[in-house]
Amino acid sequence: MDNNSSILRITDLSKRIGNKTILDKLSFSVQAGDVVGIIGPNGSGKSTLLKIILNLVGASSGTVFISDGLKTTAMLEKPGFYPEFSIEKNFKIFLAFENFVKRKDEILNLFELSGYKNKKFRNFSTGMKKRCELAAALAMKPDLLILDEPTNGLDPQGIIEFRALLSDAHKAGTTIIMTSHILNELERLCNQIMFISDGKLKEYSSKESLLLRFANLEEAYSFFNRSKLNS
């Protein structure tokens, strides 16, 4: 992989909490336009890795290089919206740097939220909450979008709509890094796949090259997880 054109470069990244190693010397890079899917069992360090990239969590050692001026945002596992505020007021707060007050109609219409703008966030269904989160992220027109378990709790219709929104963002040039346990979803969306287990990077390659070796991502996951169990 050509490191010079990468927008995100991680070198020997480790995270330790006390005696426990959460991430162990991870090194990889992401090119502009990639859609990277991160796969791993619960507790493997996926969310910690994303939070280090987002600078929410500090690394114990190693470096994270992000291209200058790269606009990065995320959809985290926990929504972080004010439950008692309407979606419009939440957007006023979280999209204040995006000139939401002037772009209000454009943003609410684009994500089909106009009819719900006065509804309190706590009264939304899980699917609608996810839509609001994704809208808040995509309204920023990010260069790099990080998604932590974005389809958790979504019904099939929600997943279809989510996929369409994400596909549009990718076509518009957004680089995406996402974690998910829904492997066929990652197989549809991603062009790069990363396997993490016990904080170690087991594999990072293109989906095409993986599918030459394995019938599908499920088989690949079983293989990398089995090698973890055997080691």
């Binding site: 969310s47 910690t48 939070k51 987002l54 600078n55 929410l56 969590v57 500090g58 990065t72 945002t73 995320a74 985290l76 926990k78 929504p79 972080g80 919206f81 004010y82 439950p83 008692e84 505020f85 007021k89 006023k92 707060i93 979280f94 999209l95 204040a96 740097f97 995006e98 808040a136 992220a137 920023m140 990080i146």
Partner: protein
């Protein structure tokens, strides 16, 4: 420009149901204290010709609790709820830097202290109305009230940057005030004249006249806790 946006964000956050209920509850308590206790303590019961400044003096004991406890506690709860509800996380991935966020918290403390001073002013108006006495508002004292409220918000804010949980923050806040009270009583009993963060601020506002040592101590406590808060927040992992 960024600070203007940060100030706007903090302004949007002020009008929550929690803040309205919290303030209203305390307003009711203080109104009752002013109605019942002040009448008894100022001597109005036995002597209707008590100098009106005595009535204000008695009322201040209750009204200034807005500055000493209500406003800092409200600030503490607002701040800790942001950590507890992952608002901080979302703000930090929405274009705000940690530095912006921290500046926002200072702006929020200013908003709260202005609200506190306005409430003190409103209570003066109320006391004047209830007891039918001339209105007496000392603007310098109101400004000092705002300054003390701001100082206490920043001072107690350090708790949240360490514990990040609402319940623990409230418990630490109460425990600190009690412990400092015990400590200062003990030390003064032993003949030491010490300046401690909460007590110095209370005396600064309650007593007439204040010394250079008091001001110096308050400045040191303020800058020290602000620095510790920033140091802690800059380094903290937000899972």
């Amino acid at each position: 420009m960024r600070l203007t946006i940060v100030a706007k964000i903090e302004c949007y956050k002020l009008l929550t149901r929690f803040n309205i209920i919290f303030l209203s509850a305390f307003v009711v308590i203080i109104v009752l204290q002013v109605l019942i206790n002040v009448r008894l303590e100022s001597g109005l019961e036995s002597n209707p010709d008590v100098p009106y400044l005595n009535i204000y003096f008695s009322a201040d004991k209750y009204v200034y609790n807005i500055i000493f406890t209500v406003i800092p506690l409200m600030y503490l709860i607002n701040l800790s709820r942001e950590f507890e509800n992952y608002i901080v996380h979302r703000l930090l991935v929405s274009g705000l830097s940690r530095h912006d966020y921290f500046r926002g918290k200072i702006v929020q403390a200013i908003y709260f202290s202005v609200i506190g001073a306005l409430m003190v002013g409103a209570f003066k108006l109320l006391v004047s109305g209830i007891y039918n006495i001339p209105l007496h508002i000392d603007i310098t004292r109101l400004l000092l009230a705002a300054a003390v409220a701001f100082y206490l918000c920043c001072f107690f804010g350090v708790i949240v940057f360490f514990v990040q949980k609402t319940l623990y923050s409230i418990l630490f806040f109460i425990a600190y005030i009690i412990l400092e009270g015990i400590l200062i009583a003990y030390l003064r009993n032993k003949g030491f004249n010490v300046y401690l963060p909460f007590n110095t601020a209370v005396e600064f506002l309650r007593k007439d006249g204040y010394g250079g040592m008091q001001l110096m101590a308050l400045f040191l406590f303020f800058s020290g806790t602000l620095y510790i808060s920033w140091w802690r927040f800059r380094k903290s992992d937000l899972y």
